[in-house]
């Protein structure tokens, strides 16, 4: 059993959860994820890890409530115990000295890209951090990210903070500021990952995206997380979660992520009384 140390809604619909998991905290590296099960009858949900404390043995995740399982996680309280936290899963993000790197985070990815930024900064890269959100009230952790970044650029769709626009504008912003990346890292929803991979492909550098497909065991056993990369099938849990977004089959991945939408609706309807 794993104890919940902290839980808070950091911006509307995005939650921060810190759990005690000393074995994992000791091993984890940037880019890895865990699988969490909030209750005995709950699904196994993969969550990117946004921070950790090796001394205290804790892991911090930031996640969006999208359906039944994530709302049950969000419903946990400090001092509660969850039956499963397993990891660190997946391969760590490759973080050596590349030169200038762009790190883009949106939604929960603003949190989960933090360890990547920190590691890249520690390896001596010039880190340009880009945060993308619908509006300024959906931004968080700016100070935390700032301390490891050369520069932070904020893009909001309504212009309430930073530059107005969508990720589509990013290419132009980078051009204006004469930023030429040697590598690009993106964390966030599949839509953001796919759009960024398209918009920034002209830089002709790897665009490392952290994929988030449906998973069950997270150790290569079930294969539900399979994704086509550069024409061949990969398992995101053991071969990833990082891949070069320029060669990911996004259309397939977006469709695969929708497999259980109907069932999700059933669950949301069913939950509540007696649970």
């Amino acid at each position: 059993m794993f104890k919940v140390i902290e839980k808070e809604m950091i911006v509307p619909n995005l939650y921060l959860l810190t759990v005690q998991a000393p074995d994992i905290a000791e091993q984890i590296q940037a880019g890895q994820f865990i699988i969490l099960r909030s209750h005995d009858d709950a699904e196994r949900i993969p969550l990117s890890v946004a921070d950790w404390n090796r001394e205290e043995g804790t892991l911090t995740m930031i996640f969006m409530v999208v359906g039944d399982s994530t709302s049950r996680i969000a419903g946990l309280n400090v001092e509660d115990f969850v039956p499963t936290v397993v990891g660190p899963l997946g391969k760590p993000t490759e973080t050596k000295k590349f030169g200038t790197v762009i790190c883009i985070g949106g939604c929960y990815g603003i949190g989960s890209i933090f360890p990547v930024i920190r590691a890249l900064n520690e390896k001596g890269n010039k880190v340009i951090t880009i945060l993308e959100a619908r509006s300024n009230f959906l931004l968080y952790w700016e100070d935390k990210l700032k301390s490891y970044s050369e520069k932070i650029i904020i893009i909001t769709r309504d212009g309430s903070s930073g530059q107005k626009g969508h990720i589509k504008r990013l290419s132009k912003i980078l051009q204006e500021k004469a930023i030429k990346p040697d590598r690009i890292f993106v964390n966030g929803c599949t839509f953001l990952l796919s759009k960024t991979s398209l918009e920034l492909s002209h830089f002709k550098v790897p665009i490392i995206v952290s994929l988030n497909p449906i998973m069950i065991d997270g150790t290569g056993m079930c294969g539900v997380c399979r994704v086509t990369v550069d024409g061949s099938t990969k398992f995101a849990c053991v071969d990833g979660p990082d891949f070069d977004g320029r060669v990911v089959d996004w259309e397939e991945l977006l469709k695969r992520r929708k497999q259980y939408l109907n069932e999700e609706a059933v669950l949301v309807h069913h939950s509540g009384c007696g649970r």
Partner: protein, 461 residues
């Protein structure tokens, strides 16, 4: 001694038209009367060759004699001396090609139903208030880690704890049991049975740590600092696909995914348990082994209109146990022999719609000793299908091979060992599917038995 009794007692089963729509166990087990009658058929051979067919060398005539005499406690004691999973083995061992094949009465076509008797003895024990515990040797102070809590690991754990070693078993999933829990369905092996056998192992003193992925949470090299010896029994955990176009369409699964959703995650209780499993109308399962049968029969129980098995060879080459094949046929699974899927066709939303197949014929014998299937040119045809489940096997899980130093790995990603399960790495043994590739529960247990002996020998030096 009287005339040979060739009346092999049938084991009661749920009628096929009822069981095809429920998840309860298919076989109901012998009554004490049936068990005694069946046990009395055993000739009690002076040189029992049935034992040669048992990978864990159970004293077969011994436990059967006890049943024949009505001494059920004695029979389970003998069984557990060599086998810590009698309730599991009585159900899922392919006895027809092991002990029962060698039974003298098999020459007359009616071998003693050894598996059913084993199952009976194990069941009888569960009806007792007190479970007899075996003798445990005084503590040796040696520390043993077992990685993977499937049949191989459980056997090593059971053997070494009885010899006085301190045993800790690590499991990556949230429930122990390995393939017994995530793979084999409830209707063939009730999870309550597995849990009972695992609680016995824990009562013997084995420590169990779940939610721990060795190779990720800690490496084998790290564990070696804490333990004297390690056994790796992590199984065949990486599913194969056919590598044909369309396999990533929605509605296409590996058998592992389909069965894990169903068994480990209790998809059949959805939405009471949160992991969904789709109720498909037309389901095609690719492959001809026990796992394929399990998937096709699971699909029927989830309410499929049609559940097909597509197998590239003929009925004669089916690798599944005859009993499971017959059960599947009785329940209404439709078999397409000599058929090979070549392409999956989807709709605009990425859902499987049709499968294109090719007819095959059998040619010369191949290296496996079976006739090679050869495609018949121009025989392509299309079947409407909304689910496709690949059950053609697994390769060994790569996590430990990738993260352990100095471990010799074979061409297929398997761990290489000698005949005693010793790997190339100091103080590390391995056994079961991670060494052999996907095989049976009992073969994994046999490998565990050999490794345990070799580990004990090493520790006793």
């Amino acid at each position: 001694m009287g005339k040979l009794d060739l009346n092999r007692r049938e084991m009661p089963k749920q009628p096929s038209h009822i069981r095809r729509r429920n998840f309860n166990e298919v076989a109901l087990g012998y009554t004490p009367e049936l068990a005694i009658a069946e046990a009395q058929r055993c000739l009690q051979c002076k040189k029992p060759i049935c034992i040669d067919g048992c990978p864990v060398e159970i004293d077969i005539p011994g436990f059967i004699k006890c049943i024949a005499d009505g001494d059920f406690a004695g029979s389970i004691r003998i069984l557990k001396d060599k086998n810590c999973l009698p309730a599991v083995c009585g159900r899922v061992c392919p006895q027809e090609e092991q002990c029962e094949e060698l039974c003298i009465l098999n020459k007359k076509g009616a071998p003693v139903a050894i598996g059913r008797l084993e199952r009976f003895a194990a069941y009888w024990e569960t009806t007792q208030d007190k479970i007899e515990m075996p003798e445990i040797a005084p503590s040796t102070g040696n520390k043993v880690a077992i990685i993977g809590s499937g049949p191989a690991g459980i056997t090593v754990a059971g053997d070494l704890i009885k010899l006085g070693h301190e045993v800790t078993m690590y499991e990556a999933l949230h429930e122990p049991g390995g393939v017994l829990v995530y793979g084999i369905p409830e209707f063939r092996l009730p999870k309550a049975v597995v849990r009972r056998e695992l609680s016995y192992i824990q009562k013997l003193g084995v420590k169990l740590i779940t939610n721990f992925v060795v190779g990720k949470t800690k490496s084998v090299d790290q564990l070696l600092k804490k333990y004297d010896v390690i056994f790796i029994g992590t199984g065949a955990g990486l599913p194969w696909f056919m590598e044909i176009p369309g396999e990533n369409l929605n509605g296409a699964y590996s058998a592992n995914e389909y069965l894990t959703r169903m068994n480990l995650m209790k998809g059949f209780q959805f939405p009471r348990s949160s992991t969904p499993i789709k109720k498909h109308k037309n389901v095609a399962v690719i492959g001809g082994g026990n796992v394929a049968m399990d998937c096709a029969r699971t699909a029927l129980r989830l309410g499929a209109d049609n559940s097909y098995i597509i197998y590239r060879r003929s009925e004669k080459e089916l690798p599944a146990r005859l009993e499971e094949y017959e059960n599947a046929v009785e329940e209404g699974v439709i078999f397409h022999f000599l058929t090979l899927p070549i392409k999956l066709i989807g709709d605009e939303n990425g859902w499987l719609k049709e499968i294109e197949c090719l007819r095959m014929k059998l040619g010369e014998l191949d290296s496996s000793g079976r006739r090679r299937p050869i495609p018949i040119k121009g025989s392509e045809f299309i079947m409407p299908m909304d689910a496709y489940i690949v059950a053609i096997g697994n390769s060994p899980n790569p996590i430990i091979p990738e993260t352990t130093s100095g471990l010799e790995i074979g061409r297929r990603g398997n761990i290489v060992t000698d005949e005693n399960g010793k790997t190339s790495k100091d103080r590390v043994w391995a056994g079961g599917d991670i060494v052999t590739g996907a095989a049976t529960v009992i073969l994994a247990m046999g490998a565990g038995r050999k490794a345990a002996l070799s580990m004990h020998e090493y520790l006793s030096k």
